[in-house]
């Protein structure tokens, strides 16, 4: 059931409750809350209008262009949130890792699972890419942050391995394993409890807009598989590609990648 903008504006009234609570305890979060709510509203309005046009034209190149824009934004957000230095090598590495992660997943699920005649159909390609991308962003942040910060913290361990005849790949193996474990764990945990603890947002949205729950869970199962596979692939690629630049030809770690306060 559709509802009007006027009705939506009533929804904002509920903010009085959290605002009062946050104010009473002098959390200093009121300004932050105001900014967050305004940003959320404007960004979603923008995306809504944009997608409306994207869906209306439904042009393969336009859709692909939008996906590229999303990947680029995710790329920069990943690097900033992982507290690593934003240099061009890292931007390049994470771009490739994110883009490939999304591409493999899109092609597999849209071409071979849903079997769309054109996988760049806006109605499918944009939301699925968005879901996978958002999760890639979170996992990549955990993955590369864990990887580079633990190497920085345990440089003598890495050097001990190098000084005892390891190749760079061999010496990085325990750091790589640790980063993969940490980044894959949250997705695995949410897969294991999904449906019991909370109803996933996408499924809820589909049901609210009139789909049968059976269709909704089919999509939800597909999207969970897509998210998990896409994130692991992209964390793997992000570390493999970026480490080619972060270590020099003497296998020494470029500490400047890690931002210290």
């Amino acid at each position: 059931m559709n509802f009007t903008w006027g009705q939506l504006s009533i929804a904002f009234v509920i903010l009085i409750i959290p605002a009062l609570i946050l104010w009473k305890f002098k959390t200093g979060l009121l300004t932050k809350m105001g900014i967050a709510v305004v940003r959320m509203t404007i960004q979603l309005l923008f995306v809504g209008y944009y997608l409306e046009y994207l869906f209306r034209y439904d042009n393969t190149w336009l859709n692909l262009g939008w996906i590229l824009v999303m990947v680029i934004v995710a790329d920069f957000a990943t690097i900033d949130r992982s507290e690593l230095k934003r240099n061009r090598y890292l931007i390049f590495s994470i771009f490739i890792a994110t883009f490939l992660g999304v591409l493999v997943i899109d092609v597999f699920f849209l071409k071979f699972v849903i079997q769309l005649p054109n996988i760049m159909t806006a109605q499918y390609a944009i939301p699925i890419t968005g879901m996978v991308l958002g999760n890639c962003l979170q996992s990549n942040v955990i993955g590369i942050n864990t990887f580079y910060y633990s190497i920085d913290q345990h440089q003598e361990r890495y050097r001990f391995f190098i000084a005892n005849g390891s190749t760079q790949e061999e010496a990085l193996f325990p750091f790589f394993r640790n980063a993969l474990k940490k980044s894959a764990n949250p997705t695995l945990a949410s897969m294991a409890t999904i449906g019991l603890v909370s109803l996933p947002g996408m499924m809820t949205g589909q049901i609210l807009s009139g789909s049968s729950p059976f269709i909704a869970i089919k999509y939800q199962i597909m999207i969970m598989l897509a998210i998990f596979s896409g994130t692991v692939l992209s964390v793997y690629l992000g570390i493999v590609i970026s480490s080619k630049f972060v270590f020099n030809e003497r296998n020494n770690f470029d500490k400047t990648i890690v931002k210290k306060d």
Binding site: H154, E156, R157, R159, F160, F161, I162, A163, N164, G165, S166, T167, E170, P174, E249, R250, N251, N252
Partner: protein, 207 residues
């Protein structure tokens, strides 16, 4: 095998006065070198330069008469074992982390069975119980002995030992020397210990 330092200058802080100035040294098979000097004189830095973790500001380091360019450096690192004073093998039980260095292609053929590891521990005065302990819970001295055990079992041609006897009693020192010194390999060691320095074939003093 031959290692040559020739007129090496090096400083961590390029604005300050250099830590090493015109340092030269030639080492060949069978040499047991003791490097002594106050802390901060650059003893450990010599190892770091040799292992390629730092690069000389001027001068050259040669391995088998070739400069330590990346390719030659990789060849050297396959021949070396380095025992730092504070060994870090990572998190986990000793029995889990001990074998990791033996999974490297360069060391795989030397991977020892548990019996051999434990008998080496015994020779170094490490109790059997450490095998099941968390590596990070071992004392610095115990961890260093684990490093010496790894060095012995890897049986490399070049050993770099950082204060190898600092955590040992005399009986263990004797055992270490007997285990490691075979008269063929190169051993470079930093040490404050007169007992150890007395047994080196050459002593270098850094100021």
């Amino acid at each position: 095998m031959e290692i040559t330092f020739s007129n090496v200058d090096f400083a961590y802080d390029k604005a300050a006065k250099p830590l090493l100035k015109k340092f030269s040294l030639k080492v060949k098979d069978g040499d047991l070198i003791g490097i002594k000097g106050p802390s901060g004189a650059g003893k450990t830095t010599l190892f770091r330069l040799l292992l390629g973790f730092e690069i000389p500001d001027s001068g050259t380091i040669l391995f088998n008469d070739k400069p330590l360019e990346p390719f030659q450096l990789q060849l050297l690192r396959k021949e070396t074992t380095w025992v730092p004073q504070d060994l870090d093998l990572g998190e986990g039980k000793l029995s889990e982390v001990f074998y990791f260095p033996f999974t490297f292609a360069a060391n795989r053929s030397k991977s020892p069975d548990e019996m051999k590891v434990l008998s080496t521990f015994e020779a170094l005065g490490l109790p059997k119980s450490v095998w099941q302990e968390e590596f990070t819970n071992l004392s610095t001295g115990q961890r260093q002995r684990v490093g010496l055990a790894i060095a012995y079992l890897m049986d490399k041609n070049i050993m770099l030992l950082d204060e190898p006897t600092s955590a040992l009693d005399e009986a263990s020192k004797e055992k270490i020397r007997n285990l490691l010194f075979d008269g063929k390999r190169i051993i470079l060691s930093t040490s404050h210990d007169p007992w150890w320095l007395d047994r080196c074939s050459k002593i270098i003093e850094l100021k």
